[in-house]
Each structure stands twice: as C-alpha cells, then as structure tokens.
C-alpha cells in the first residue's frame, strides 16, 4: 500500500518526461511530413546514382 505513494507520483513524473520527449521530436520536424515515410518503404533504391 505504501508503494502507491511512491509509484503513483513516479508515474506522473514519467508522463511529463515522455511528453517532453515527444515535444522535442515534434519540434525537430519528425512529424512534418507523414506521407513520405510510407513512400520511402516502397522506394528500395536508397542510394540512386
């Protein structure tokens, strides 16, 4: 029962941490173009000459 007092606040901290990681990813432009990755899978030639 006492563990709840540690684990629940810990999970709250974790939520904010994960939120921050997503914020970084978003602002580095990872989600700006969501269509391209789908096409990249089909385009096999990674290094066209």
């Amino acid at each position: 029962m006492e563990s709840l007092y540690v684990l629940v606040p810990l999970s709250v901290v974790l939520v904010f941490l994960i939120g921050f990681v997503f914020w970084r990813a978003l602002h580095s432009g990872q989600f700006d173009d969501l269509d391209r990755p789908a096409h990249d899978v089909v385009a096999d030639d990674d290094k066209p000459k």
């Binding site: 029962m1 709840l4 007092y5 629940v8 606040p9 999970s11 709250v12 939520v15 994960i18 939120g19 997503f22 914020w23 978003l26 602002h27 989600f31 700006d32």
Partner: protein
C-alpha cells in the same frame, strides 16, 4: 497600435535595446512601409487585398471575422475563404486603410497579414505542429487518466479511501495541463464568442469541459462525490482528433487549388519584354513565341497533361512548362494580368461563395447551439445534477453541420479544375445538379471555332485578294472566330469600326461605309439581294455602292461532340442546339450529332427568349457558349458554361469556364455537382438525425459524459469521412466514338 508585425518587431527591438529615448525625442513619426505586394491591387478607386488569417480554429472563427469586416466603415466587400483561410477584402482607400482593417481583425483576437506564400507555409507548419502537440497531450493525458481511474472501476467499492484519494490527485495533476494547454483553443474561442455576444459552436464545448473539470476537482479537494477526469481528457482527445483530421482533410482538399494560387507569375516583367525560356522551366508570363519549336505542358491551367506543340506565332501561357527546346517569347501580359493569375482569382472567388443549402445549414447550426445551451441549463436545474448539463453540451454536435460543406465544395472545385472546368461560383452547384436542358451554341462550342476560308466569291469591282484584305482589315478589331479565318497579310486603313453583336462589323474604308457580316446585315447597305454566285456563302462584304464579296468558311466539328450529345441524352438531359447560323448549315450539324431540338438563324435576343420559354416550363437550363458573343444568354440561363478557347478567362461571365477547351468537362461538371450535392445532403441529414436523437437522450440523463464524448467524436468522424469520399467513381469523361466532318460555317 502597429500597422504590421514588422513594425511591431522593429519597435520591440528598439525598446529592448534600451533605445526607447528615440520615441521620446523624435519629432516626426517614421514613414509607413509601402506595401508593394502582388496580393494587393488597386482599381477604380477601390483597393483589393488577399489577407492571410492567423489564429483561426474553425469555420465559426472565419464567419466571425467576415461579419466584423463587413461592419467596418469603407469596406465594400469582404469574403472569407473557409478552406484557404484567406480573406479577400475590397475597400475604399479614402475611408479606411489596410492598417485599420488589420487592427479590426486584431481587436477580436486574430491576426492578419497580406498573403505571402512563404509566410503562409511557415504559418501552416506552426499550426500543424501545435495541433499535433495538443492532440498528443490530450491523448496521453487521457490514457494515463484512465490508468488512475481503472482501480476505482474494477474494485467494486473495496478500494480504501486513502488509495482512492491518491488516484484522484494524480488524475487531477495529469488532467490540469490537458485542460489548460490542450483545450486552450476551445476556451479562447468561447471567450471570443461571449465577448462579441455571438454564441457559436465553441461555447457549449468549453462549458462542458470546464464544468466537468471544476466539478471533478471540487470532488477531489473535498474528498466527496464522483470524478470524471478520464472522461474529460478523453473528450478533449476526441475533439482535438476530429479537429486535427479536419485540418488535414481541408489542407489536402485545397492542395491542387493551392498549387495554382501559390504559383505567382513574375511581376518584374513588362509587356513587350523578350525572354528565353529554357527546357524544363516555367513560362513566367503570357506571351507569343517568336523563335523556337517546342511543346509545353499547360496542365496547371487546363488540367490537360498532354503537351501542346508550340511554334513561332503560337501563344504560351504563364505557368506552363516548356519541354524540348528553348523558346524565345515576347511578353503580352505579365503579373496580375496573366491568364494564370485571373484563373487563380476566379477560383478563389468560387471558394468564397456558398450554395444556398450550405448557408441554410450554417444558420441551423447557430440556432441549434442556442437550443443546446438552453436545454443543458434547464435539464441541469431540473435534476440538480451538473453532469447532465455536461452530457448535453458534449453529446450534441451542431458543428457536424458546419464541418462537411467546406471540405466537399473545395474538393469538388479542385477535382473539376484538374479536369479542365473552373467553377467561378460555388453557388452554381445547386442549379447544376438539377439541370434538365442543355442549350448548345454552335461556333466555338460544338465546333472548334478555328475557321478556314473555303471559297471567295468576288461580287464587285475588287479582285479576290483585295476582298480578303478588306475583310481582314474590318475584322482585325474583332475577337470573333471569323476574324482569324482571313489570316495575316496586307490591310486597308479602317476608321470608326463598330461591332454589332451577332450581326457583323461596320467601318469606314476609303470614305465609304462598309459592312462585313450576316447577309441581311450587309443587305441594308447594298440595298439589293445578293447575286446567285454567293450561294452557300455565309460571310458577306458590302458597301453603300453594292456587294463586294461573299466568303464560304468551314469549321471543324469537335471530335467528341457526337459522343457528348449521346451521353447527355443517356443522363436524361434534353439537348438543344441554338445557332445564329443559317438554318440549313445548323440543321446539317444537328442531324450529324442527333440533336432533335434545333433552331437556326437566332439573334442573341432570340436565344434569350428561347431560354426564358424553357424556364417558364419549369426546366433548368444550362447554356454553353463561347462566353463573348453570347454573354446575355449566358446571364439568362440558370447555369452557364463558357469555352475558354483563347479568350481572356477574366472577361468570361460564366459560372463554369472550360479552361481545357474540352467539351467533355461539361459532363464531368454535371456528374461532380450531382455527387457533391449528394454528399452534402448525406452529411447534413446525418448531423440533423444524430442531434435529434442524442439531445433528448442526454437531457433525460440516459447518456453519461464518456458516452457523450464518444458519440460526438464518432459523429464528427462520420461526417468528415463522408465528405472525403471520392469525387468521381470513374475516369474523367472521354469520347467513346469520334466523328469529324466539316459542315460549312456561317456568321453567327
């Protein structure tokens, strides 16, 4: 108050650098920046500008901005485009200025800037990121909130009071940022609606969210009652998800229109400039090829992706891509005068205008919102339970009514533009859907309009070559297809040319009044009947002394004409041919194309009467013409189509301009408008039915807050998915059979 963001930034820099003494000691204000943007143009004492709107959340915001702008003094027109989120404003520069327009928009909490593609791109990226970030915060908060609520759901009351308090506090900590940050747009919008006393779609949502949170927080702090933090976060997530989906769908719908609008012709060029366009380059202005043989892709304007061959003397349009060889081009129209700019303006105007059905739906949505608020208040007071009010506010979804129309209309406009039909008025969809009769003009519509001279009969003192030269000189000022049949060559001096629409041209040549045109028009001058050698001729030339010449012209029938007529009939549409031609020539064409209803020898006035008579019988008439000579008939018909062959698109007064010069686009337009209106009706029908069922159910307390959230989000998603269904189920129309015979042509 600053006139623009630039000035504000400058002032901030000055103050932040500690130089604010500048403002205290200066004796004169700094000069205003001159806004030399292609988005702003002035004509006839009126200034027109395209403004990008910032901080817009949904269509209610756009409606609000439009209403506020229309109340400003000195503004003659204000239209807000719901898809591109741009306002087209026309004002009198003597009464108001751009700066005061912008400050009017700012006073209600939005921002505006003259349209600039680069800035818009940046703004869109910012908006997309922030929408995604809010969606993530709400989604993650909802998931985590659910975890904390879970023990309470399964414990069946066995959870100790202390443990349950820990869970409640954790939920509160997680839900607070969801509400404060992710839901901020709802509260900002609701505050705006309250402040301007225009109750819109956001007020019920904001009240529902805030009411639910405050009641739950109170329960947590006092340790009594029920908490619904998970439901609130879930509602926020579903709402933001619907908003995000709407953002993506409307961006996608306007993508092809944007391609056209974002491509701006070069403004550095002037008429008469010569330039070389390298292969693979876009032509920067309208012009005429002086040197080089190549082909160009004009699909940006016409939707036709097949390259068009270009030789010296051919016209090239701004925005087309040169393919094979370098072309030397003399500029005829640059900047805002180009065909591409005119088409972009027409397309934007079309997007700013709505069918009556959509306007009615918008009105219903606003009234429904008021009803929802009253019902929520009454139900909550009657049952003394705040959760009933929350459920009513959340479950009903008047915005489903407002969501579908912008997407459907933009997608229909974009689809048609890509297939060579430019809608200039979105309100025409409603009439297009009900068209029962199509009245076709002959020259330039069923035929290509490119005439060639078949025979010259010299009837007077002049020889054949002089007759042609005289005809050419008279026709040179005319845009009529006939004028091109006489080609290039020597010319006579012509004074006081006068154009008689549908009849011909009169001018003074070598001191004598001379006429070219229809037989009876010239006979008024010649005063005797035409000689028998003029048999079969259609264009006549005469002066006060008698007949000079008669010309027999021929005009090729468009290859797809016969199949088009057959397909129109197959759709149950009656086809009429109304021609200003000699009845014999038109009758031959009518027989060739299997058109039963044919009238020949009509003046423009006769055509108007013809259309009116059809309308009096309750028919809905679409008139198809070349857009120049039959302007009065086009205006009379319920819907008008104009072929844009070579003519200036901006001058065409028609609801639909067939930019690709492809007759089949007529059928595509009819089909697409039927489908668009069906999609709209389905969306409206669903939204009305859903709200009619859910409003009483929620008021009676049958629906809990989380069920309400789910219902509302599902309703929005259904409406949006319906609006995103494909515009056409098959390929654009192509003629299945072809026939090209060349009946003789006459003046009309």
């Amino acid at each position: 108050m600053f006139c623009c963001a630039g000035c504000e930034a400058v002032a901030r820099t000055i103050v932040a650098g500690g130089f604010d003494a500048y403002y205290q000691t200066r004796t004169q204000p700094a000069p205003r920046p001159q806004l030399a943007s292609p988005a702003i143009e002035t004509s006839e004492g009126q200034t027109e500008a395209a403004l990008m709107l910032e901080g817009v959340r949904c269509s209610a915001c756009l409606w609000l901005i439009e209403q506020v702008l229309r109340r400003e003094r000195g503004i003659t027109r204000a239209d807000v485009n719901y898809t591109t989120q741009r306002a087209r404003v026309t004002w009198d520069p003597a009464l108001t200025s751009l700066a005061s327009l912008v400050s009017a928009i700012r006073s209600i909490g939005y921002d505006a800037a003259p349209y600039d593609p680069k800035r818009e791109e940046e703004q869109r990226r910012r908006e997309r990121r922030s929408a995604l970030w809010r969606l993530f915060v709400a989604g993650f908060g909802a998931m985590q909130g659910m975890m904390y609520a879970f023990p309470a759901y399964i414990s069946d009351g066995e959870l100790s009071g202390e443990a349950s308090q820990v869970m409640r506090w954790a939920s509160l900590v997680i839900t607070a940022p969801v509400l404060a940050f992710a839901c901020a747009p709802f509260f900002a919008a609701a505050w705006r609606e309250l402040r301007t006393l225009r109750i819109g779609l956001e007020t019920p949502i904001a009240l529902g969210l805030a009411g639910g949170f405050v009641a739950s927080a109170w329960a947590t702090v006092t340790g009594s009652g029920e908490v619904y933090f998970d439901s609130i976060s879930m509602l926020a997530f579903l709402l933001l998800g619907a908003r995000y989906f709407h953002l993506v769908a409307s961006r996608r719908a306007s993508a092809s229109l944007d391609r056209l609008m974002r491509w701006t012709p070069s403004t550095a060029l002037r008429t008469g400039d010569r330039l070389t366009v390298a292969p693979g380059e876009r032509v920067p202005a309208d012009g005429v090829v002086e040197q080089g043989v190549s082909s160009a892709d004009e699909s940006l304007l016409t939707g036709e992706s097949r390259p068009v061959p270009k030789r010296p003397g051919d016209a090239v349009v701004a925005g087309s891509i040169n393919f094979e060889q370098p072309l030397t081009v003399r500029v005829t129209r640059a900047g805002a005068d180009t065909q591409a700019a005119a088409i972009a303006r027409l397309a934007e105007r079309a997007a700013a205008d709505k069918p009556r059905l959509v306007e009615a739906a918008d009105r219903v949505a606003r009234h429904l919102t008021l009803v929802v608020l009253l019902v929520a208040l009454a139900a909550a007071l009657y049952k003394a339970d705040v959760w009933i009010a929350v459920a009513v506010l959340v479950a009903t979804c008047p915005c489903a009514l407002a969501l579908a129309a912008p997407i459907v209309l933009t997608r229909a406009n974009a689809f048609l533009l890509a297939n060579g039909a430019l809608m200039t008025r979105s309100s025409a969809y409603q009439a297009l859907e009900r068209v029962t009769d199509v009245v076709l003009d002959k020259t330039g519509t069923l035929t290509t309009g490119r005439l060639s001279l078949l025979r010259v009969a010299a009837l007077g003192r002049l020889d054949q070559n002089s007759c042609v030269a005289l005809a050419r000189s008279l026709e040179v000022s005319s845009r009529h297809p006939v004028s091109r049949a006489f080609g290039d060559g020597p010319m006579f001096a012509v004074d006081e040319p006068k154009n008689f629409a549908g009849l011909g041209i009169e001018a003074v040549v070598a001191g004598r009044r001379t006429r070219i045109g229809a037989e009876f028009f010239c006979q008024e001058l010649a005063r005797i009947g035409s000689p028998p050698s003029a048999q079969g001729c259609s264009v006549f030339l005469a002066d006060e002394e008698g007949w000079i010449a008669a010309f027999e012209l021929q005009d090729a029938v468009r290859p797809e004409a016969a199949a088009l007529v057959a397909d129109l009939k197959a759709r149950g549409v009656q086809v009429h041919l109304a021609s200003g031609d000699r009845p014999q020539a038109g009758a031959a064409l009518a027989r060739l194309l299997w058109i039963e209803r044919f009238t020949g020898g009509m003046t423009p006035h006769d055509k108007c009467v013809y259309v009116e008579r059809l309308q009096a019988r309750g028919r809905v008439v679409a008139m198809v013409g070349d857009g120049l000579n039959d302007a009065p008939v086009l205006a009379r018909a319920d819907v008008s189509f104009a072929m844009a062959s070579g003519a200036d698109a901006a001058q065409l007064r028609a609801d639909v301009v067939l930019t690709g010069n492809r007759l089949g686009a007529l059928l595509d337009t009819l089909d697409a408008s039927r489908r668009a209106m069906r999609l709209l009706r389905a969306s409206f029908g669903w939204a009305l039915a859903y709200n009619a069922v859910v409003l009483p159910a929620a008021a009676l307390g049958w629906i809990g807050p989380w069920e309400a959230a789910l219902g509302m989000a599902a309703s929005s998603a259904i409406v949006m998915l319906n609006a995103s269904r494909p515009m056409a189920l098959k390929e654009p129309w192509k003629a299945s059979t072809s026939s090209s015979r060349s009946p003789s042509y006459s003046y009309s």
